[in-house]
Symmetry: C2
Subunit: 135 residues, 2 copies
């Protein structure tokens, strides 16, 4: 068994899965990542304007789902979740490419984060390369 610890939480106007866009560049509002004070030294080197990868824990997801209709479209045949970005999967980790718009202490304002309010944040990584679509 592997134990994760949240390093922060998402503050967002999105409050339920139904209203969240499926990808961050499909209309996600600005959100704030509130990092725990204990991990603030880990943020040194991240600056406004940076593109970063945010890993979240989709706490509302189902972990017993192995096959889904892509994007919830029942007209499309089911696929294995490992070939989709469905939040429902054995370990519901979200991978989001976002743009940092502001940093005030442990509050990171970000653009294009398609996660609902209260979603635990588990890691932040720099983008390597320049793929605009890496979510």
């Amino acid at each position: 068994m592997i134990q994760l610890t949240a390093v922060g939480t998402v503050e967002s106007p999105l409050t339920d899965r139904g209203s969240a866009p499926r990808q961050g560049d499909e209309g996600a509002p600005e959100a704030v990542i509130v990092l725990d004070q204990a991990v603030l030294p880990a943020l040194d080197g991240v600056a406004p304007g940076d593109a970063i990868l945010v890993l979240t824990w989709f706490h509302l997801a189902r972990r017993d789902v192995l096959r889904v209709h892509p994007r919830g479209d029942v007209a499309r045949p089911e696929q294995g979740v490992f070939s989709t970005r469905s939040p429902d999967r054995p370990n519901p980790i979200g991978l989001h490419r976002v743009e940092v718009v502001s940093i005030e202490g442990g509050r990171l304002g970000v653009r294009n984060l398609e996660a609902v309010d209260g979603t635990p944040v588990i890691d932040v990584k720099p983008v390597i390369g320049s793929d605009p679509n890496e979510r």
Copy 2:
């Protein structure tokens, strides 16, 4: 507390962190991801030739490290781990972009995986976009 479950394990000729390249395209040998039988339905839709993202759990990493010299180079000033790809971080999740070269049952042969033998695999996701450097 969030509990992760490994969905598979890395089989690799790399056996210690010292011999592992820092990024997958810096000389990683071919490796095999051995998925648990229970999650095989999740693999439907993944095929040889695909680029996929593999999330691993760096089980040898230190979780109490918040600042590091980038790439272990002491000549470079320390930065927060959230601005680096250091395996040492509060939640040591590895993000690897690899190419699938073969699939036999639950055994995925992959190219460019810089993880040591025995590393737990926690998720597999499709690449969205075409960034060659997303690791």
